[in-house]
Point group: C2
Chain length 228, copies 2
DNA sequence: GCATGTGAATAGATTCACAGCG
DNA sequence: CGCTGTGAATCTATTCACATGC
């Protein structure tokens, strides 16, 4: 899918060594999370079956997904947890860290700015930006909110790779355009608006109201089935 | 995908009149949003081509998606905007309103509690809940935060249909269990944790770090291609 | 023996292309 | 004629089932 999830638009295929299916890419972070948990308990190896159980997927899927990365397992034994962790991290580009800018410092922007878990794994919020002059200068954690107009300078100084849009819907496309123009080539959009970006820019979206509406669909189905 | 979430786990198929593919269900909210925008400009009909362009998908996909709902278009003309709006709303269960409870009133919970857009379309936040006694009683908008222990009573009183989990990862599974136990059968999980629910409960997730990691993958690919 | 890795089979989603109808 | 609705073709993803190799 999503796609998903959530589903969402994708960047171009790129051309690394192997061609990894989109659906697999979307599951790698899931495996990563499970492996981190397993690693804490000093477990040395893990079978596809166990990993599948933890991730809530089918064991064959785990094996096929991992096989796209290479033959990192040992037949009759399983996968070395630490080694697999490293390989997945590397594949996901988490061995380097990516400077992130958050645009739109309202309720959600605040929450994102304070979110621990950026730093943990390869992402570092280097700037907070808002179009509203009255918010500029506000201190949040270690950062001070800067003006949207400064985006090109900020992006260049900090080599921003990823932009997070947390503005109202109406501003989202403009902000996306500015991000792209400033050289940011990965965008995560939280605004409830459809935005478009040029080829070569990755765009993913997180949309609360869409998720709720999908839940509503299935909720209604169940209610309907019960009633009939 | 997903899924999608952006990709995410689904509820059971249910058995309404028609069997609507999951991928289609995930796009209906998108069409709905586009149609709402079009409706404001007093446009009476819309072609699949135009709608596709707005939604950023292929026209054939729009037609096929809409055909699962019924034959609501007119050949040679297009779709009546108002009529289609109504049909999609009905299909998504948005003609009734769904009481929502938000569990976990930290940064994110606050942001969600203040989010306008719940009320707009069929969702109504009826309760805010937290396990931390020091947060109980805090006033947010029109609601006062209540204790997690009161969840069963709240769910029953308010006929809560949808639970939103905005707790830290460690608490997510416990909260999910409590929600299910209290009779909530749709859950939207924002916590960066894998949770499981029984058959008959829909679960979707919104996971910032997964989305960032997916972006990181494609970002790295592009960087790699440029470098080589 | 046992769990991986992978071709083959199946299922699901997208796109094509055109018949059908207003 | 124009645009919908939809079978057929294609592409993508999932699952099966077993040969392979530690």
């Amino acid at each position: 899918m999503d796609e998903g999830g959530t589903g969402s638009a994708e960047g171009p295929p790129g051309r690394g060594h192997r061609r990894i299916p989109e659906a697999t890419v979307a599951r790698l972070p899931l495996y990563l999370r499970c492996l981190l948990e397993v690693a804490e308990s000093k477990t040395v190896t893990i079978s596809s079956e166990r990993l599948a159980e933890m991730a809530g997927v089918n064991a064959a899927k785990v094996r096929k997904d991992l096989s796209y990365l290479g033959s990192y397992g040992t037949r009759g034994v399983g996968y070395d947890v630490e080694y697999l962790l490293f390989q997945i991290s590397r594949e996901l580009g988490l061995t380097q860290d990516w400077p992130v800018v958050i645009v739109g410092i309202g309720n959600l922007g605040h929450a994102l700015a304070n979110y621990r878990g950026f730093g943990a794994r390869g992402f570092r919020v280097v700037a907070l930006v808002d179009a509203d002059g009255s918010k500029v200068g506000e201190q949040i954690g270690e950062l001070r909110v800067r003006h949207l107009e400064d985006l090109p300078a900020i992006a260049a100084e900090e080599s921003v790779a990823i932009g997070v849009i947390a503005t109202p819907a109406g501003a989202a496309q403009d902000v996306a355009d500015r991000l792209v123009h400033a050289g940011v080539s990965s965008i995560l959009n939280f605004a409830p608006a459809l935005i478009t970006v040029p080829e070569g820019v990755s765009l993913r979206k997180v949309d609360l109201s869409i998720e709720l509406q999908i839940l509503s669909f299935y909720q209604q189905r169940r209610a309907g089935v019960v009633a009939s």
